[in-house]
Assembly symmetry: D2
Homo-oligomer: 355 residues x 4
């Protein structure tokens, strides 16, 4: 008996959407890519060339795509601004959903996705925090969980993009929610993973500068940000994000416990080649996050597929994605107000007594 | 129009055969695994469970498998002793062949495969030197080829296995051809790749010891070998192979040129995690070659498939595999005789004048 | 003609004082250690054994020592609480001074040392920020200064001590001024060096926890602190300090500019030995700061000596030491109040408008 | 009571001689540099400027220098060709000797130094194998000696100089004894240290090329050499030496045992600075051996001094230096004859039976 394959559609065939489509098409044996949606003519053309020959129907109307016969799951990989809306529609159409991060740049909209998912408990709804599927991050988590570093107390994490002088990041900033919501959302999600999903934020403080792209200020954004998050119970996470790395993408994390430290990608390498030259010894690093996390995305596709087919648990809860957006938005607000933001032990926002 | 897929069979479902089968089944979009052969009951059982549900027929007779309707290509991944025979049979049955390395532990048998392939120039016949498909080795080659290290002159390469106290390597030694044919064959092949496939060997010398498994001597083998190969034209390759690494698999290579050096995997890492502990800073390394080269095997499967379907050139010539076996066998002979072996400028063996 | 040697005394023969004494005795060719002061009987005994045989007089009264015939310079290496007082006395006695960092835990007292030095412009008065004498920090500074990373914008630096379960750090906390004044003072000084000594602080924010030594709270201190300092003109420095590293001392720094990044000691090593073991590949790191900075201390002794003898400029101005203490104290205050602290463009403290 | 200082003279004020002189002058507290010899006018001038003001007498006649009143020890740092003669003269004059490596490029002359020393057992006679005084090599030895890698079996070591296009190495080759005697002598000495000073050589084989300086052939030398030495009892050492490294000096060593591996300087660094640039991440390495081994030379000076003053044992026996030269010369001979050289279990040279 040949095994049944999950019938999957991808919404959005931009940079990351196209990759998701190819992952489900070629590298997810238990899934079948049956449909894709994009309103962009150039993306439609790409889909006709690369997806249609394998039996995937290209739609230019999202609602039509949702009606594709036999469709079981949708990957939402459009612009962040429509993540929530499309996810909710798919859920209402009784489809499993893998939504790219973040669910939304607004806490309320993110929560709306969670609420929609709660109403359909038989569906799998996953927010695509790709690092959760990365072998090294998982290894680090397991080492921590086994007690190898004692009690985790300090968390440092950065998401640093290669300098892109084209101005891409300036345009992008109007939709991205800002550097803390767009970049550090990954690091915040990791902090919640490693410190425990029920960690309660105590204070948030962020600063930032526009070192290379002053036009970012018009979108209330920066190209380098430093944020510090205190959690109740004696834990601190601090973050750095940047859009001006010279060498390439450098995302890294340290989890520091009472008895040891785990670091992930402290020494990035694009390959295993080192070059000895007149100017010294050199290695190159991946230019973009996909060079670092490609395998994680493929694992994400396969695990999402397996959870849908076998009705097994997803590796993490959707509600954490709201918590991550909440912290990201608070950091972005602190960046712009210049003020520290305080929360009580239930996570409710408070004014600092006595100020 | 849905694209045609290459109809592939795998011969042998042992450790590596099973991996090849899964690569063609799940990770080679343009191929379809339609048949597998193994005489081993336990492997048959594995195949029935993991391959048959996806439409793959399991054979216990190799010749029968060759007759599988529509079959176009065979992956030969049985014991080294039958590599050549099975490859030749498949070629004669007008099938493309991907044969695991080495073609044979004998130069003559290896040459017989090449001769069979020559008689069928429309077929793709590939010897599975997996490192040729590895991203890092390819990057190093391209850097060298672009002149970044000047003229390559010295080549150092090692294949070092994790210590296996089970005695596996002792049994294995009766069929493997010896450590220089089994392990360093990869390094020899790399030397021929980087120095040029037409490099002519000038002398060969090897020594070795049995540091952990003295029983290897009964199969004229060792657990640690050092070999030096001179090539005409002023080039030297030197090799190390070992069966007693404590930390795991450590295969590495240096290509040293007149203006620089390239190293591949000088600092092995099993993941991107580093651990800071009371005893220092530690990283783990892959225990086995598959942990290092998995991606290369998948690329091999995909490129072999594409070459068969599109009738394009394979990335390297089959005849080089004979040259590699010739050098490996000479090293093994030198190890056992204690003598240096000399070749003239045409590669023919000679006695050193004046001895 | 045999060259004249600087006549030097060391005040304090504790851990670091004893080292200074030996550096001046054995590794500073142009200096002669002629006197040492300590009120501690055990330190007197050590001095009698190790210094007296080489012609160094041991004093138990600081003022007496200052009158040692021919004395030209004093190294103040006593407890931080008397740094300023002893330095001022020595300056008033017309002696050159090398004072261990910090000048004082109070901004006012630090300023008093600077004022005393200003009144005697012919004297060399140096605050012993050892990292300023470290080869690697100097190399990084020169690379930055030559424009190799564009304009420096983000500075990250940490001073992390090995866990000392003896309770040493708890006792020490009553005098140290707190973790930001004791540990991060180095990182603050580096930030001022790399960003420019005239950088004006804009805001300061710190948080901290007591992960391993809760008793620190009684001295208003923590064992892990994170601090963020904004400078006017678009520069950010962020710091981490810790008393609970498992592997050893790990002090490191990154200077991130618009065109590149310099890191100092990102990968600490106690020696050049790496160990491949069943548990992986491991290196050890120095247990204490002296293992990392010994050479810098020796360079400091030699350069201080040369500046005194030759009446040449010291490598950096004393006034910066006050600025470093000011920032350190503000971080410590922010840690304890939980509030962010703001400064105007002249560096004067202000309340954030509108709060 | 002020401690007595060893009265030391340095013979030769060339590159390394001048360094020895400064080490004894400035960094060896228990020694006093009282005399120096050089026939070279430019070196005399240097000595007058840098040594004489500190009370060191400059001689242009070696025999005169030996008569310097109160002289106790001589450091022989002239050209290799006169090492042995000067050492023997000094021994006969009843002086302790620290002779730069190698004692001689001839086995007989080296033995003559050992014989002279044997006749004066109260003298300390040391061959300056600087790596024996290096912290990292010592740490590796202690780890090995404590059993951490099981039984050592394979030893790999390289001495690789930065490319010097000036032709220096060609001129130098007429006196150096060849690359195996000049460079790999260090590695051979290390092999004897780690494998045991009484290890008996079983066979020797070397090959080499002139990749960058073909003129070396007229001095029977090469710019890249690979040598393999078998020892009786199942141990192998293999060596690489080169004069064409692009990045700088890279001397490294691996000791591979039945339960682990120790590597020394597998990842060379000139400083603790790493640079992230558009072309990747880069570190520089020391251009010359002195950048790597400066500390070892200083330790050598201090330990030699202490052994002379306190009449304690030197860290290793002089006779090993003869064994190292013997192996180095055999490698050089094998390089030039193209033949493998055999020794019986007493270390006597034999023809391979049956050839």
């Amino acid at each position: 008996m040949v095994q049944r394959k999950l019938q999957v559609a991808v919404s959005g065939l931009g940079r990351m959407g196209a990759r998701h489509a190819l992952h489900f098409l070629n590298l997810t044996p238990r899934a079948e890519l049956v449909a894709a949606f994009t309103p962009e003519p150039s993306e439609v053309a790409w889909g006709r060339q690369h997806l249609e020959p394998s039996g995937c129907t290209i739609y230019t109307d999202y609602d039509e795509m949702l009606k594709h016969p036999g469709l079981e799951a949708v990957v939402v990989a459009t612009a962040t601004t429509v993540h929530a809306e499309q996810s909710i529609k798919a859920i209402k159409a009784d489809l499993h959903v893998l939504c790219e991060k973040p669910l939304s740049t607004s806490v309320e909209m993110s929560q709306a996705v969670v609420d929609a998912a709660k109403a359909k408990p038989h569906l799998k709804v996953l927010c695509g925090f790709s690092r959760r599927f990365d072998t090294s991050y998982r290894e680090a988590w397991e080492r921590m969980d086994s007690g190898s570093i004692g009690r985790p107390a300090i968390f440092r994490s950065q998401t640093c993009d290669k300098l892109d002088p084209s101005g891409f990041f300036v345009d992008y900033a109007q939709y991205s929610g800002g550097i803390f919501v767009d970049c550090n959302i990954h690091d915040i999600d990791l902090a919640l993973w490693y410190f425990g999903q029920d960690s309660v934020v105590k204070s948030v403080m962020a600063v930032g500068i526009t070192a290379v792209q002053p036009e970012l200020r018009k979108h209330k954004d920066v190209d380098n940000g430093v944020g510090v998050v205190e959690f109740w119970g004696g834990k601190i996470a601090y973050f750095y994000s940047s859009r001006m790395m010279a060498a390439g993408q450098h995302d890294m994390t340290e989890i520091i416990g009472t008895e040891g430290k785990l670091s992930v990608n402290a020494n990035p390498m694009g390959s295993l080649v080192e070059m000895s030259e007149a100017s010294g010894i050199r290695r190159e690093i991946p230019p973009h996050y996909y060079g670092r996390f490609r395998e994680a995305f493929v694992t994400e596709a396969n695990e999402f597929t397996a959870a849908c087919l076998d009705d097994t648990k997803l590796p993490f809860k959707l509600s954490g994605a709201v918590q991550a957006v909440k912290i990201g938005c608070a950091l972005q607000e602190s960046l712009n107000s210049g003020r520290k933001i305080y929360f009580d032990e239930t996570g409710r926002r408070v004014e600092k007594a006595g100020l």
